[in-house]
Amino acid sequence: MEKQFKHWEDVRDLFRNWREENCRQSEDVVDLWKEVLVNHFSKLGDEGWLVLEQVFIAALDCHSMEVANFCLSKLNQEFPDSMRVKRLKAMKYEALERYEDALDILDIIIKKDETNAASRKRKVTIYKSQGMIIEAIKELTDYLRIFMADQEAWMELSDLYISQQEWNKAAFCVEELILHSPFNHLYLQRYAEIKYTQGGYENLEVARSYYAQAAKLNPNNVRALYGLLLTSVHMASNSKCPSQKKKESIKLSEWATNQLSQLQSSNDSKLFSSQILEGMGNLQIGNDAKN
């Protein structure tokens, strides 16, 4: 944040924006709070409690325990019996690496209210912070049996499986996401990435299809375009590929290269990347390359 003295209303609006978009701008939140908003807290009204929660979490992220404690005590004063505030207390213990204390609080909350989704998810993060990925996966799969529509959770589970190189399971999670939102180009691209990483000619074909669909839905998705180029080139140079598909692949790789070149030139970039696109497009397609 370059502006020295932002008007407090601007800061309040900015915070609102970040809350809605779930942005993780922790450093900026804490700095702006300290510089501007803390002095105008009384003017915020009911929104002030949301702001306190936001600043609290940002402060934990930056390990500004003073700010965090200030926010928490204010919230505790106003909402003494709140489960939501209790969960924030558990997050504070997490930040202090007092994992047992955090788990105790979360278990109490879950016992009182079995539908409390957020607390269950905090348990997953506690395991993840300690590097206990297997336990985190188990906790998250149990959670998803109950809360099947939680897309954020499916995405997180997919990431956990990727870190364990369990490609089939990771792909399954993304399939759930695609079922929820079949036109989300990011899910399609992610699926393609997993399939490509898994390896093998069949997975390569699948990856190419998903990259193609993602690029069709959003021709500005650079990862999808590069992915399409990569998969097409690999397929075309693979001996298992029938000639019909080879021709298809060559056309697709040319299209992807064109799209990428257009994106590069629209930014008037003299970056290195634009030069090498020619190199990638010129990869030997006719001969059976090393793959």
């Binding site: 993780r24 992220d61 690496e97 993840k128 912070s129 300690q130 590097g131 990431d159 990727i162 870190s163 190189q165 992610r190 393609a192 990435e193 997993i194 490509y196 990483t197 990856a207 650079v222 990862r223 590069y226 992915g227 990569l230 998969t231 990428l260 994106l263 590069q264 930014n267 970039s269 970056l271 290195f272 990347s273 090498i276 190199g279 990638m280």
Partner: protein, 199 residues
């Protein structure tokens, strides 16, 4: 077997800035050395920050390595090492993804080094290099490099002061990694502008 390993101020700064830019995720990148470097004393002259999302997925890694390789050929450099900062605070050993990538690098540059960031030692005022280095040896073994055989140029203290200065100016916000470039193709993963600020 390489006996000493040096990191230029530029490479070291980029590594630390990358970790600071994305403190909540794992980050990784490759290290570049001059072409024709001997295996007896590797000097890493530059670092290219790669990703902060899904480090374990192959396609974008391949695209990045192809582009970096292409750049290296024009600049007389070679991909000779790899750095990694784990997502979890306490994690201190290289995970399977880092090992695989470094093994791949070692096929072209024997005895490539894997530089791990010690998250706990990072601070706004750096007092410790916060790095540990393991080296890939023939036969698939990883050998930990002692502190005496690993240093930052021109010397550790100067480098630490320089990096602390960069951190206080929040220059990590200006660092561009390959993921940033893929999100916005106008961003320069070579960080040419940043280089002048670091030197």
């Amino acid at each position: 077997m390489a006996s000493s390993c040096e990191l230029s101020k530029l490479a070291y700064s980029k590594i630390i800035l990358h970790a600071f830019k994305y403190p909540h995720t794992a980050v990784n990148g490759v290290l570049l050395a001059n072409e024709g470097s001997s295996n007896h004393s590797v000097k890493y002259v530059d670092a290219i920050p790669l990703f902060h999302h899904n480090l374990g997925l192959a396609p974008m890694l391949e695209v990045a390595l192809m582009q970096i390789d292409s750049y290296c050929r024009t600049a007389g450099l070679v991909i000779a090492g790899y750095y990694h900062a784990s997502e979890a605070l306490a994690e201190m050993s290289p995970d399977i993804v880092s090992q695989r990538i470094c093994e791949k690098i070692a096929e072209y540059f024997p005895n490539a080094c894997l530089v791990l960031i010690n998250n706990r030692q990072l601070a706004k005022q750096m007092t410790n290099t916060s790095l540990s280095v393991v080296q890939y040896c023939d036969g698939g073994k990883w050998k930990v490099k002692d502190k005496e055989n690993f240093k930052i140029l021109p010397n550790n203290d100067t480098a630490l002061d320089s990096v602390s200065n960069l951190l206080s100016k929040k220059l990590y916000k200006k660092l561009v990694d390959f993921d940033d470039h893929l999100d916005d193709i106008s961003q320069d993963w070579l960080n040419v502008n940043l280089k002048s600020m670091i030197d």
